[in-house]
Amino acid sequence: MGVVTGFVDRWVILKNDHRHYPTYPHGHLTHLALGFIAASLGAVAVPAIAKPDYVAVTFLVLAAQQFRDIRTMERDTLTSLDENKLVVRGNDYIEGIAMVFETRNYLVILTAMITSGVTFLWGWPYALAAGIVCIYISTKIMTGSHMGDIAEVQPGTVHFNGALLMVEDVVIKNVGLPQTREKILKEGIGVVIKPNDDDARLTLQSLGQRMAIIHDVVSILGSKVDIGEDELKPMARINLDKGYLCLFMVTNEHDLECLVDIIKRVPVLETTRGTTLKTYYGRKAAD
């Protein structure tokens, strides 16, 4: 019972989404197999302790250590993939994804353990209910906040001040060739991301979060970038005085509405999340 719920749990929380990762079907199979092992571990833990078979318990602890390697595995894979990308994912994003993969296996172990414990104590009908509750909880608690929760995303106007490309009042870069400028004026999209509070402002200031936003948009809408031709490369620059982020990009699909929605759904990375308002001085300074 524990093994089954644990495995189902892994399956449910294994999402193959727009970030092109994990790949289907091989990447999926790797994680499902590891999820199955994790579920087995969690499921046999309770009977082993109840017996009591302490040798078995020791082995379980040893086996659980293996799951720490999952983070390293994910990090290595994603970092090597990043080397060949024109628009990179960034180390912060990679670290975030690797952490999530590791944590999800612990969730599976926990789900399997709880279910098998309930089976052991009260029988399988209760275990079924416990399993469903556990799976529901693991899908809920592992959803972090998104850009839409911490900031307001609005369309921004792309224009030129001489050779300077601007989105609203923020300078993005200098564009030399008139034909490139014309193309940008015709196809470029600007977006302004306004932080809701000081925490969000710090989050937006981090390069990792900006790279994550750009990567997610580019992986869905595409970008007109090639080797040696990165004048149309997406860029994000911050207004230092007011703290809002201006994003410029030339996408394959010119759809502003979708772009705004995609940005709202970009996860706030754990490693870049600003927490100034949680500190005494941060709150005091924010007055």
Partner: protein, 64 residues
């Protein structure tokens, strides 16, 4: 990981030679703006750099 030079001036294209002195990179003289843009475009494609306009008749190619 391969090592590359970044933010490095690769070439200068100007219709206004007096405004460029020294320079550690090739300076290309153009007769008019049209030729200047053409040379800039070609050089940018060859050198895989970006064209920037200094707004005084000088274009620079920079590797970012």
């Amino acid at each position: 990981m391969d090592i590359q030079m970044q933010d490095y001036l690769l070439a200068i294209i100007t219709i206004n030679p007096e405004s460029v002195k020294g320079a550690g990179c090739p300076v290309f003289l153009a007769t008019d703006e049209e030729q200047q843009q053409k040379i800039s475009l070609l050089l940018a494609r060859i050198l895989a750099g970006d064209v920037h306009d200094l707004e005084n008749g000088v274009y620079v190619i920079v590797k970012h």
